[in-house]
């Protein structure tokens, strides 16, 4: 115990660490962390906005209602005007509506990619960590091969496999890249638990292997996986933008997505930079929100930081 700590603080510390679960003590610290609250706040606003966006958007995001104001020869697009506070895009569609509805598609891409990556990683990691032996070897070699390619490059390659890129292919490309990361994380914590007392106790009580894996080992391994999921949500949104930029994104932009809108940056940056800056800023803020939340979660769940 460090010098200068009063007796009362010592007792408080002891009381705090005794009989409080890791999750409870983590939550206690998180509630007081302004960084976590900012991250969670951004995330909450984003999620609510994207769920309500179809009702919030004043117009149909795919309707070229302002097309008469688009003059290609003079590079003119609809300026901000009553009813269209952000003006229109290159096809004369209401830009505010596109930004709003874009949040929903962005959430779908992020959550979809994370869920698929997580599921794949859960299956592979559980197989490797819980069964071990040759299954472990095969799964881990496969994971090694996937990790020996730079992540984003792997995503580009997978996306290029699809004859017709779509939102589905974007989600698949991003999620496959995440599978090895999740698999490794899960295998690591599963392995650590195989030798632990509670698993030994369950085994000696005659609990079936399946039950041990799903009731005892898996729930105890989820902490790092949840943290990783939050961080992956951020990367997924950024990677979706990169895919669009390379022409590997969803070409159908009637229902827009922020990454896809930003992917058009080369067409608009010289003449109408705001068409790229808006989605870029939104992506940065949302990615930052997820990251802040994930990083503070990681710190809070780290037993080293528990006092």
């Amino acid at each position: 115990m460090a010098l200068g700590v009063t007796k009362k603080e010592k007792i408080d510390d002891l009381a705090e660490s005794a009989g409080v679960s890791l999750a409870a003590s983590a939550w206690k610290r998180l509630r007081r962390s302004p960084v976590f609250l900012i991250g969670a706040g951004i995330t909450a606003v984003f999620v609510v906005l994207s769920i309500l966006s179809p009702w919030l958007a004043p117009h149909d995001p795919g309707d070229p209602m302002l097309i008469t104001q688009v003059i290609k020869a003079r590079n003119e697009i609809p300026a901000p005007q009553p009813g269209h506070p952000l003006g229109g895009d290159l096809q004369g569609r209401d830009f505010l509506s596109r930004m709003l509805v874009g949040s929903q598609q962005t959430l779908i891409v992020g959550v979809g990619a994370t869920l698929i990556g997580l599921t794949g990683g859960l299956i592979l990691g559980t197989l490797a960590g819980a069964i071990g032996g040759w299954v472990d070897s095969v799964v881990m070699r496969l994971v090694d091969v996937m990790l020996s390619l730079p992540a984003l490059l792997l995503a580009f390659s997978i996306a290029a496999m699809f004859a017709r890129p779509s939102q589905f292919s974007v989600i698949i490309a991003i999620s496959i890249v995440q599978i090895p990361v999740f698999a490794r994380l899960l295998r690591g914590s599963m392995l650590a638990q195989r030798g632990s007392d509670h698993v030994l106790a369950a085994t000696s009580l005659g609990v079936k292997r399946g039950a041990i894996i799903f009731r005892h080992m898996l729930p105890n391994s989820l902490g790092p996986v949840i943290v990783q999921s939050t961080l992956v949500l951020a990367t997924a949104i950024i990677e979706a933008a990169a895919l669009s930029f390379l022409g590997l994104g969803n070409p159908n932009d009637r229902v827009p997505e922020w990454g896809q809108m930003l992917g058009d940056v080369q067409k608009v940056f010289d003449t109408h930079p705001h068409l790229a800056v808006w989605p870029a800023v939104c992506i940065i803020i949302v990615a930052l929100g997820f990251t802040l939340m994930g990083e503070t979660l990681r710190e809070a769940l780290d037993p080293k930081n528990r006092r």
Partner: protein, 334 residues
């Protein structure tokens, strides 16, 4: 040490073999098969039949794979049909590889030169406004899509600073020796050529360095924080060693191990980031060839470049692992 190196190299061969199998399967699974992929829109029944025969696609699949492997081993990945039509894929790689190395090294140097000292300072001043703002800055650095940052640099800063925003060098007279434009100028004494190439490197390298910088900064900060808490630092302080000696001999040396690992892993971010950055700046490196390859579905070029990127990535990380022994005598002893 030697046995370890050899084992890792054998692993690399295994990885490349599996990868070649996957890429082969990839090429086969392409919509319409490799013939359509290679011929694209111009396919006629006659040309399809000719190419099918030429590629040996009428033979059993296993033989096809070994033939593909044999050709690949001799460096023959086929002829580009989109990036630089007519050139062999290997030619394109060799021609463009120095550019990407130059750009990546430059970006990595920027990331290290700023990331490590800033990370150290932030850790020393933990909880101050300097620490907090640089941590937030690094998080923003990771959250900005690289190509967007590249466009901002290209459009805003190239005008403001008078820096060139496209290509590797202006059309000036320069002798080519190694393909590394900055190095060529130094070797031949054409200093203006080196200077010109450096000017062209600044903006793309800045864009490319954003993610490695942010990651190196944060790992350095975390590692230094860990080490500062150690008993041996307190011992060193109570022995009355000067702050400089403690920093150099005790803190930084011990904190460098995770940082070096991260630097190795950043090669991946650099290679992927180069695809986006080089495309924005029209920088004729491997990354731009990959971007064009994806856009124009140039499979021979893509295959070769993806395999090469993997080999480079794995080799760099092997070198990084080997360098541990140099930094940490405890590992050398084992």
């Amino acid at each position: 040490m030697l046995r370890y190196t050899i084992r890792r190299l054998i692993q690399l061969v295994g990885v490349v073999l599996v990868l070649s199998l996957l890429l082969f399967a990839w090429l086969r699974s392409l919509p319409g098969g490799p013939v359509s992929a290679l011929l694209g829109e111009r396919a006629t029944p006659e040309s399809r039949a000719a190419l099918t025969k030429q590629l040996g696609l009428d033979q059993p699949i296993l033989i096809q794979y070994f033939k593909f492997l044999g050709r690949a081993l001799s460096g023959d990945f086929g002829v580009s049909n989109g990036v630089q039509p007519g050139d062999s894929a290997m030619e394109i790689f060799l021609q463009r590889f120095p550019a990407t190395v130059e750009l990546s090294v430059f970006a990595l140097v920027i990331a290290i030169v700023f990331g490590i000292p800033l990370g150290y300072l932030a850790a020393k001043r933990r909880g101050t406004w300097f620490d907090n703002s640089s941590v937030i800055g690094s998080l923003v650095g990771v959250a900005i899509p690289v190509f967007f940052l590249a466009y901002v640099l290209k459009d805003v800063f190239s005008k403001a600073l008078g820096l060139p925003s496209t290509g590797r060098q202006d059309a000036i007279e320069a002798t080519r020796v190694t393909g590394f434009f900055t190095l060529d100028g130094i070797l031949t004494g054409e200093w203006d050529a080196t200077f010109n190439a450096l000017e062209h490197l600044i903006l793309p390298a800045l864009a490319l360095s954003s993610i490695p910088f942010a990651v190196i900064f944060r790992i350095t900060r975390a590692a230094v924080l860990d080490v500062l808490d150690e008993d041996f630092v307190r011992t060193a302080e109570s022995k009355g060693l000067t702050a400089q000696v403690i920093r150099r001999r005790h803190v930084l040396r011990n904190a460098m191990l995770p940082v070096v690992t991260t630097v190795g892993l950043q090669t991946g971010a650099l290679l992927s980031g180069a695809v986006l950055t080089e495309k924005v700046f029209g920088f004729a490196g491997v990354g731009e060839a990959l971007a064009l390859g994806f856009e124009r579905r140039d499979y021979p070029v893509l295959l070769l470049l993806i395999i090469m990127a993997t080999i480079v990535y794995v080799l760099v990380n092997l070198l990084v692992d080997l360098s541990y022994a140099l930094i940490d005598p405890r590992i050398r002893a084992r």
